[in-house]
């Protein structure tokens, strides 16, 4: 390859010629002829003059007359070749036509070519141009060789030839270029054979490599492999070998020619890049990409070998709260600890990259087993072979168990429980995407069932999911379309025979259907729609209080059920205040109910709100009391005014003896804490009498009234309560007192 720049330069400039001839006539004519043909001529009449000229100047070409007195052409040529920098300057020797001896000698002394002396100047000029061209090509070759050597050095690369010797053996025929020797830390004069090379390879790597080499030679294929080596100076390096076969005239492979390259740094960088691409930086677990890759391989094996694969989606239950309250650093700390524990729950295989697995034997899919982090607080455990569902469940149980112990982050115990969804290949999906989606469905089912558990996917879960989705979008619209309504159930004091307040209960008028809270409140809770719904309920209750106050002098309170998360909102007080101000009613006409479970779930977070609410004169009742696990110590400090005995105890009164004990205890507790106590779900006279006997006079239930639409409250009061027409009203039923009560009740029923 000629370089354009170089040939351009020499084309632009007249080539310089040193002409040496003792014959002055010839010298004159040759000079004239060559000048005429584009050469720049310097003539000297003898060898000595030529050499002194060359001491300070290098022409492009030297033309020497062979036979001259004094230093003749041959001697001049020898001397010239010994001068530094003249190894490659082309020298043309002029000889006689029949002078074969001179011709031979010319080559021996290092002349580039000979030319028979004559006056055919065009031929001479043509020969000179040819020599110049050849010389330029040679220079370029030298230059490119030097560049190649430099490039190879920079790339820690060198070339080698490996040829077949006696007995068609490749053992002895190895030759490395200078750069190639340097790759292994050898000097240019060192001799290295194949055995020396093999000795640099660890015995465990040597045998597979020799086997590979045999195979390559047998198949006459291209060599391209990385070889880990310990060089003679003790450095560990990875040497890349790449070579192609060469063939003799019979088409037999007779040699390999190629390069060796130290690729250690590149390999380290590649490994690092691969690690970054495949592993999560925080936990060092496989990331989503790597997990999906592993899962895909696992499915391939499962398909081929006919076994099941399990995918466990693990989602932490309270990570967001920990992150929000303790900060991201604590969150990260928690994730690292969780990652560490999860890793212990499976046969986690650390390093695994493309290509490795295929060669690792029949049970190699086992090496795919791992825990990875999908992102956020979501982890996945991949079990590449399970015999059945129970197998996967065992691992899930192990995981839940591992997370049961608290994690200490930011100096404080945190409970990082998880919800685990399990999906099995091929039953629950044929692709990784399907399995991920279905394990997600199962995981969400766990969440909605109260978290900290594991569930195996079933199609039923998915369809429930779909229904939920439809319900969710309908519920969104329900708020916009004003489809929500409040029903009111009176609370009565059986002692005085009066209504003492109402509890507002939400209904959803969906088309012709009236949907009960149990069917939509859980979805509302999950989707956070419960917040706008609760706000609406407060406003609506205030509006109703105003209406009733105007209509019949209603002066009691309307109790609104709020989920505990409403108490976590800092604007709850403002919400209530705005609602009552708009209607011009006192704060006391709004009462709030929170379930015992909701209250105790995160007492610390709702406590400030409870105080503020109580401070503005809004009473708080604890709903469903007795079903949760109240801390009695807290109960004494809570700013509450009322306990509502759960309907389940009331229902069993007189049926299950223990219920009476519970009810009695709750009533005693309320009394001693100076709290009002209300019995819910009172359906018959017997229940009423028993409660009354224990000193509980405030009640609510079907015995008195079912929940009524707002417009029916006034008629109920006017037609039932005021005329004292109901059985529960004292004047009708006889006055109940003391020990007679039970006797009376018994007689009546």
């Amino acid at each position: 390859m000629t370089l354009h720049g170089v040939s351009q330069e020499t084309n632009d400039r007249r080539p310089t010629v040193l002409l040496v001839d003792d014959d002055e006539v010839n010298l004159l004519m040759t000079a004239a002829a060559l000048k005429d043909r584009g050469f720049d001529i310097t003539s000297v009449p003898g060898g000595e003059e030529a050499l002194s000229k060359l001491a300070s100047w290098t022409p492009d070409v030297v033309v020497l007359d062979a036979i001259m007195p004094g230093l003749d052409g041959f001697e001049t040529c020898i001397a010239l070749r010994n001068m530094p920098g003249f190894d490659n300057v082309p020298v043309l020797m002029l000889t006689g036509l029949d002078d074969e001896a001179s011709i031979n000698r010319a080559y021996q002394v290092g002349a580039t070519d000979f030319f028979v002396k004559a006056t055919q100047w065009s031929l001479l000029a043509g020969r000179l141009r040819y020599l110049l061209r050849a010389s330029r090509t040679r220079q370029e070759l030298e230059r490119s060789k030097a560049k190649l050597a430099r490039a190879q050095d920079l790339a820690r690369m060198g070339s080698f030839d490996w040829w077949m010797g006696d007995g068609r053996s490749f053992v002895n025929g190895l030759e490395l270029s200078e750069e190639g020797l340097r790759v292994f830390g050898y000097g240019p004069d060192d001799r290295v054979n194949l055995r020396d090379m093999l000795r640099m390879i660890a015995p465990t790597d040597r045998e597979p490599l020799v086997r590979l080499a045999r195979q390559i030679l047998y198949q006459v294929s291209v060599i391209a492999t990385d070889v880990p080596m310990t060089l003679p100076d003790g450095r560990f390096r990875i040497i890349h070998v790449e070579a192609e076969p060469e063939f003799d005239e019979h088409g037999h492979c007779c040699a390999y020619t190629g390069i060796v390259q130290d690729v250690t740094d590149r390999r380290i960088a590649e490994d690092r890049i691969r690690h970054l691409a495949n592993y999560d930086a925080l936990t060092n677990l496989p990331n989503r990409r790597q997990l999906i890759w592993r899962a895909e391989r696992a499915l391939e094996f499962g398909r081929r070998l006919g076994h099941q694969v399990a995918l466990l989606l693990i989602d932490l239950d309270r990570f967001k709260i920990i992150n929000d309250t303790l900060g991201h650093a604590a969150g990260d700390e928690l994730l690292m600890e969780v990652a560490f524990r999860l890793r212990g729950c499976v046969r986690h295989c650390e390093q695994l990259f493309e290509g490795v697995i295929e060669t690792a034997g029949a049970r190699s899919h086992r090496t795919l087993e791992a825990v990875g982090r999908l992102g956020g607080d979501e982890f996945v455990a991949l079990l590449p072979e399970v015999t059945d569902e129970a197998d996967a469940q065992r691992v899930a149980t192990r995981i839940l168990e591992a997370l049961r112990e608290p994690v200490v982050v930011a100096g404080q115990d945190c409970f990082a429980t998880a919800s685990v969804g399990i999906a099995l290949f091929p039953r629950d999906g044929n692709t990784v995407a399907d399995l991920l989606r279905n394990s997600d469905v199962a995981m969400y089912a766990v969440k909605s069932q109260g978290r900290n558990d594991a569930l195996v996917y079933t199609p039923r879960l998915a369809s429930r999911g779909r229904e939920k989705l439809q319900l969710e979008s309908a519920l969104h619209k329900a708020i916009e379309r004003d489809e929500l309504v409040l029903y009111y159930q009176p609370k009565v004091d059986v002692l005085s025979g009066r209504m003492v307040g109402v509890e507002a209960l939400m209904r959803w008028r969906r088309g012709d259907l009236l949907i009960q809270p149990a069917d939509f409140i859980p979805v509302a809770e999950e989707t956070n729609l419960i917040v706008p719904m609760s706000e609406w309920a407060i406003r609506q209750a205030a509006r109703q209080a105003r209406i009733w106050a105007d209509a019949f002098g209603f002066a009691d309170s309307i109790a609104v059920n709020l989920p505990n998360r409403m108490f976590e909102r800092t604007d709850l007080v403002e919400q209530i205040t705005t609602a009552v101000r708009e209607e011009g009613i006192p704060h006391g006409m709004i009462q709030l109910e929170i379930t015992e479970t909701g209250l105790m779930k995160d007492l610390a977070r709702v406590m400030p709100s409870l105080h503020r609410v109580k401070d503005i004169g809004v009473q708080i009742a604890v709903d469903d009391f007795g079903t949760g696990y109240s801390s009695l110590a807290y109960l004494t400090h809570l700013p509450i005014t009322e306990l509502k005995i759960d309907r389940s105890f009331v229902r069993e009164l007189g049926v299950v003896p223990q219920s009476m004990a519970v009810v009695t205890a709750i009533i005693a507790l309320a009394k001693s804490l100076d709290l009002k106590v209300v019995a819910e779900g009172v359906e018959n006279q017997r229940q009423m009498d028993l409660l009354y006997g224990e000193g509980c006079t405030l009640m609510q239930g079907f015995l008195f009234s079912k929940p009524l639409p707002p417009e029916e409250i006034q008629p109920w009061l006017e037609q039932v309560v005021l005329p004292k027409k109901a059985a529960w009203i004292p004047s009708v039923s006889k006055v109940l007192s003391g020990a007679d009560a039970e006797v009376d009740v018994g007689r009546r029923s």
Partner: protein, 146 residues
Amino acid sequence: MVEEPAIQDVMGDFNNTGSERTAGGPVLDAAAMAELRALDPDGKAQLVKRVLATYQGSLARLTEQLAQARAAGAWEQVSRVAHTLKSSSASVGALGLAGVCADIERLLRAGDSVSVQPLLDRFGSETGRVDQAVRQALEQLEAAGT
């Protein structure tokens, strides 16, 4: 034409061929002279004049050298002088002299110092003719004002 003429041509029919070839004179080959002129077509470098003058000088010097060497029996020296004169004579078209020189060189290189004697005599007369022809040519050039 560039090839050195065989001795027979030179010895046998030199004048004839010479007079036939050239209009200017029998000794210097016209074609060779034309070639020489062609090297300096517009005569700016006065190449023909310089070549002829140089040739004249070296002819005189070499003739003298050859005579001395012959007298001393230094045949190698004689051969080298003949070699030098051979190529420059051919260059200016003195083909007859060139042929004589070629034969002298060849015989002496073969070690034959006997057969060379008549050729050496012939060399003497031939140089005289060439010298005269060169002088004439130079005079003509002078007269032509170049």
